[in-house]
Symmetry: C2
Subunit: 486 residues, 2 copies
């Protein structure tokens, strides 16, 4: 009896429950503006609302959905809210969502070609499409030596290229030279690089963090790089990896790829370009120049899950070299004719994990259901809204813009009074806390040249001009309260 | 004009298209038995069917779904087919699917608690539930020093614990002792460990692969481990990491945790237990003994996405120590009050990537919509079916069972004729190729003690007794053809 009761994949139950879930999610989007953008719960809130152990007997979908409504949603920070301006966006879209559904429906594990040829081949094809939209050099296409691969996140993309670079140089100079390997990047580079260095065993004292400041709008200075490399060579160290960023996390700064790439090439270093956020903008001809020089890069990454309507996670990495020399395994139980005959790609050898989802489906659906021109308009609209926000900031003498608005991010702050002890740190920290605690908008912060700076990143799919204007009013009103209280 | 056309997240379009996709997927499951289980396409098939570049203008969902039907599905290997018996299962279920939908709907990025407190807190709670179902020691609960965390795959779980172990010992003995660190495991351990060693920079010659054979049913022999450790100590090396497996990839062998754990403890080594596949069975009291000794482990992992109805990916890792000393980063732009006050978990510091999906939703839905008793029956039913298959094999004198059936995997082969030059390699390779090329079933293989062995892993959610019987008939019929042709 008990052996026959559970039918966990009954097509008609899937249909019935699936329809209920679609309505639940559509209703969520319909009412998304009614929730506090940043969750306002206190740490530990959920423990008090849920039982201590799993149920013995099945519960109904209705009960679960009620709990989602009453217990989970209050603890959700609504990244898809049109009033979300924190960090960088993490786009959801109907097309991306449908792709996630289909991928979860097939639920294949595409580690080798044979485990679902369509998963591997669609990924290769769609990444060629995207490479062409970005006008990447031919070396990054699958017809060249390398090709594209979908990683989970930019952190993983940076890690796999760092490992490939590490192993390439160690094969030449010997394993025990690990302590001599030097990595270069600006102090604006994402913390993922530091973490990757830690994982790869790069000595912390050999991670050269080059200072970038407002003189170059927080871009890495080629002369500084050149100097550091020369110093390291003369100390007997081995410079081997340079990471540049197009659209840094703090201020969307753009490192000068051409000049940096030439230095890397002259010194036989791996040159990785991380365009996690801003890469998407480069499908517009007027922004493509930000990746001029990309032909000097060894590898290039962008996150389609940030500002490109593809649901998280979908981080795209192209490289001119194969990663497989560092990441391959070939155990007996995974051998198969197609792989042995060497005429297929096995993506397990291009990434850290063995298993992988069918993520190309969602990117394919985004590209097909929206098309290039719509995607370009989408990007342009956000950049236009960011420019409008910047103008609003400029029009209020209490505020200042702290870094150039290059894409859809505005860095700004309340100007501290003369003689302010902490250069406006508390003032702006309090403004940040006040607006985020209001639940009306969610923004984030950074520190630039010692200044505590507010970050306003436009990029949620539902954000329109009215939301940007309303956000500015929230900021102005809270500023007025704070300045009056001072 | 162009700026206002695209509404990529319109709730009513999401609703309409979402319903269409639910029907598409439900229909897929309804007809899943009509497809060849292992895709029969040739390498490069999809390139000929799709255009060379992304469309400029939007296409219709109907066109995309037609392409999925006509171009993608032929290239899918149907892991959810009831006739799928290859590798180990990758379960999809209605509950797991709904969890994926909801996670894609919220599309949050839960790197820090504040980015969606519910995502972090539900994960902590649900992994406590699962730990209790498995009767794990209290040290693995969130009330202890460690707790559980969802990783993408067992490969990532093994990598993060290896890194934590590496950095812990290097903090004691100094970074330049990396070359002395030694890792131990049996030759039946998953290739993920070798890859993790490569990534972590463990010297290949310091990866002790201890031979296991049929005398112990392919389990690691404690005496061999003890001996290897002593040898390494006397050579001035530093034994620091032991990986045991409960349910190996090739034959579902179980390493003796208690004895191994005592050796690891006596030598101050990190002891990781990988129960990626078989861990799920340990929710049944009669199988729990396979992880007796788990209280000696430093960390323990199982894949809920394999045999536990939770759609890929969902690999659960518990540890008694925090991983955060190896994996933490704390850049300014991610700082926030809750994290600074140190009273919340930030899962970004327990994993390789920064970003993470809301994966606990699907595990929560599986546990609630099915309940403990149903989940136990589900496991028991597969084990019963595997036992039935084993009996069928035993009843045909042409075949032999090659390793004990401990869970739901049967390792078997056609017995080679006396004097067979390659000990039945070609005979069984050809049988494998014949049944998989028939499209009727999909099985995989391994090599045990030099024998080419067929693996029949029961575990797909739709598999019933009739499918197992039909699969056996396919194998018998193909065997008859092969043996007649010889």
């Amino acid at each position: 009896m008990e052996n026959s009761t559970l039918k966990p994949m009954d097509s008609e139950q899937l249909r019935e429950y699936g329809h209920q879930m679609v309505d639940f999610i559509a209703d969520y989007y319909k009412t998304i503006e009614s929730f506090p953008v940043r969750s306002q719960v206190k740490p530990g809130y959920l423990r008090e609302l849920l039982p201590d152990s799993a149920p013995k007997h099945p519960e109904s979908l209705q009960d679960v959905l009620n709990d989602v409504r009453q217990k989970i949603i209050p603890g959700v920070t609504h990244w898809q809210s049109p009033d979300y301006f924190a960090y960088y966006p993490s786009n959801s879209s109907t097309a991306g969502f449908l792709g996630e559904m289909l991928s979860a429906g097939f639920n294949i594990v595409g580690f080798s070609w044979v485990t679902s040829p369509a998963a591997t081949e669609l990924e290769v094809i769609v990444l060629d499409w995207l490479a062409k939209m970005l006008k990447l050099p031919n070396e990054f296409l699958s017809s060249g030596q390398g090709g594209g691969v979908i990683q989970g996140t930019a952190s993983e993309a940076i890690l796999v290229v760092l490992l490939a670079a590490r192993d390439k140089v160690l094969r030449k100079v010997g394993r025990n030279s690990l302590e001599k390997l030097v990595v270069y990047a600006s102090d604006q580079t994402h913390a993922a690089l530091q973490k990757a260095c830690q994982i790869a065993g790069i000595y912390p004292e050999n991670f050269r963090v080059l200072k970038a400041d407002s003189n170059t709008n927080y871009a890495l200075i080629p002369d500084k790089l050149q100097e550091a490399i020369m110093n390291d060579f003369s100390s007997g160290l081995i410079p081997f990896f340079l990471c540049a960023t197009v659209g840094t996390t703090s201020s969307a700064a753009v490192d000068p790829l051409s000049e940096l790439g030439k230095i890397a090439k002259a010194n036989d270093m791996w040159f990785h370009v991380d365009a996690a956020y801003a890469g998407s903008a480069c499908i517009c001809p007027e922004y493509r120049h930000h990746i001029d020089g990309i032909e000097e890069a060894t590898s290039f990454g962008m996150n389609a899950h940030k500002w490109f309507l593809t649901n998280f996670d979908c981080s795209v990495l192209w490289d001119q070299n194969a990663l497989i020399q560092s990441l391959s395994t070939n155990p007996e139980y995974l051998k198969n004719k197609a792989s042995q005959e060497n005429n297929v790609v096995d993506f397990k050898d291009w990434q850290i994990p063995l298993g992988r989802r069918f993520r190309s489906l969602k990117l394919w659906m985004v590209l097909r259901l929206y098309g290039l021109e719509n995607l370009q308009s989408y990007i342009r609209n956000h950049i236009k809204l960011a420019e409008q926000f910047k103008e609003l900031v400029c029009s209020d003498h209490r505020f200042e813009v702290v870094a150039p608005r290059t894409f859809s991010l505005v860095c700004f702050r309340l100007i501290p009074r003369e003689g302010d002890q902490d250069n406006g740190y508390n003032l702006n920290y309090n403004l940040l806390d006040a607006v985020n605690s209001s639940g009306k908008i969610f923004i984030s912060h950074t520190v630039l040249s010692g200044k505590f700076v507010l970050r306003f990143a436009v990029g949620a799919p539902l954000t329109e001009e009215s939301h940007v204007k309303a956000a500015w009013k929230v900021l102005q009103d809270q500023a007025t309260i704070l300045l009056t209280d001072q």
